[in-house]
Symmetry: C2
């Protein structure tokens, strides 16, 4: 039985959609058990049956505008803090929240703790690709850090590789370095040094530099980048996809009868495209480098996304993703090189 600690109070529609997603996953996967942290009366209101679901009543909630480190230290009865403590104490195998990314990072770092040898955990979503294989790509760090050093990016490559293999079932995942050109000398010192570390490693399948306009084409299974560039790149991709789709929808629907009929005829095809760029089926963003699976879903996530995120967490536990990273760093004792 795998046990997931869920912070039920994070996100825009908590705890309703969180409970709906949990029940869906509980019904589908008989090997899952949940420790649900939050306001018990509110949770009970939406819960249909509590089979394999244990509610832990909590009285505080961390808000998105709370200063993260301060919040986890002062709001000791917060659902996120107590859920993290349950993972720390071995009462649960993984932590899942839709709440503040900063507070979740702080909870991971200061309550659960880093994997020994890991310098800086990185935030890693899974994104779609439009190539024939269409298996998507992981990218990290997308914002857990504002700055990174070469060895940290190398650690992202190692961890991302294990994740892609154990969770996504990709053998020998292709690792790319996000850079401003294909040639190996490209970029600033950080990226030049990182390129050397990645190229020298026998433990990853490094395919060289990749550029931001090619990521959706599936040029790499795992893209490593510093948290600042990764954050801008992820937001640029998500924002642009959303805006282009929305513009098309408006351009068609705000027109006359002819366009409305045309829109009806191609509706199915457009939905398929929208589905292709729908990241919810890929689950949440993993805070990779913490000594247990810690996963963040978007605050606006619906029950379906929460279901997929739980499915992803289950795969991380079953695939022993974190244990494999722990073992690797124990064996290799990778120390700070830069």
């Amino acid at each position: 039985m795998m046990k997931i600690a869920v912070d039920a109070m994070g996100g825009d529609h908590a705890p309703q959609v969180v409970i709906a997603g949990i029940e869906q996953a509980r019904d589908q996967f008989s090997d899952l058990e949940f420790l649900v942290f939050g306001d018990e009366p509110q949770i009970r209101k939406y819960l249909h049956n509590d089979q394999r679901i244990t509610i832990v009543h909590t009285t505080e909630v961390i808000e998105n505008n709370d200063e993260p480190v301060r919040a986890i230290r002062t709001k000791k009865q917060a659902s996120m803090v107590l859920a993290a403590k349950a993972v720390k104490n071995g009462e649960a195998d993984a932590l899942f929240s839709l709440g503040s990314t900063g507070a979740l990072l702080a909870s991971g770092l200061f309550i659960i703790g880093r994997i020994r040898g890991i310098e800086r955990p990185g935030l890693m979503p899974t994104m779609p690709t439009v190539d024939a294989a269409g298996r998507g790509f992981n990218i990290l760090d997308v914002g857990a850090n504002a700055e990174n050093r070469p060895n940290q990016l190398y650690q992202y490559a190692l961890m991302g590789s294990v994740y892609a293999e154990t969770v996504r079932g990709i053998k020998n995942p292709r690792i790319g370095l996000l850079n401003n050109g294909a040639e190996e000398h490209k970029g600033d010192e950080l990226h030049q040094e990182t390129h050397k570390l990645l190229a020298a490693s026998k433990d990853i399948n490094f395919v060289g530099n990749v550029e931001a306009d090619h990521l959706l084409q599936g040029v790499a299974d795992v893209v490593v980048t510093d948290g600042f560039t990764g954050n801008a790149t992820l937001k640029a991709i998500e924002g642009t996809a959303k805006i282009v789709m929305k513009s098309i929808k408006h351009a068609i629907l705000d027109q006359g009868l002819k366009e409305k009929i045309g829109a009806l005829l191609i509706k199915g095809s457009l939905s398929k495209i929208a589905a292709k760029f729908d990241v919810s089926v890929y689950g949440g963003a993993v805070l990779l480098g913490i000594s247990a699976p810690v996963i963040k879903a978007h605050g606006a996530a619906d029950a379906r996304t929460i279901f997929y995120t739980i499915k992803q967490i289950r795969q991380m536990i079953a695939g022993q993703t974190i244990q494999r990273v722990v073992d690797y760093f124990d064996q290799h004792q990778i120390t700070e090189e830069n």
Copy 2:
């Protein structure tokens, strides 16, 4: 009469499309004169009439894979080098090329020279926005540099502001700093320090941090960023817009008769969207910080884009964009602060 030095040998379809674009602009704007550098027999082959067009025969061409600084030093008879020298010597007011960005940057820096006081020129395209005003935005640096310091980003803000006012006719242009969050303390040291410089300046209309997913919504008229992040963001936006549009096209046209009829009905609307994201009407990317207008159009640009780029150059000369920047820095003697 304004005189533009054109490197006719750069780009994928040189010199044919370059000549076509020049003739179109010459016919439309009676105050334009051209000094066209390139292989005379090839140019003559495409030229319909040489009114206000002087051909300067050159025997070498800088290729995209030439090492930029080395290329401009060894290929002394290259069309780009000789065009840059014509600007340096006052025989022309502006330099226009579709060739290697790196070589054009080197030509700007080492042949024409920087504006006094400017630390690092930045590459600045104009991008579309989908807001009601739809006036687009400028973003710099998008890759002339792999690293930047705070004062350089501040100089981009000052120069971008003058450009938006003189070329795009925007009064009091809104300047945004590309960052990983809206709050002023966000980002690494570079962005925190830059935020302070921008917020303290009385010479620009600073609207604070902007994020990459909001740029197409028109949150700022000029977005300043370091060359590494700017490069990734620009490529992510362009690549995503292209891929989403292409996916939609395929999804519709690769389907059955129903979709094909539907596609016909909405064709006009889709074209309007494609046009909205068509950056060619915005002209080329300006190498801002060089003591004359230096503009680079994409290697794949067609005659229409070349026409619009020439129109943009004309506006830069008529609006005295560079002279205003020169005057500003002469008066303020902004020196390296960081």
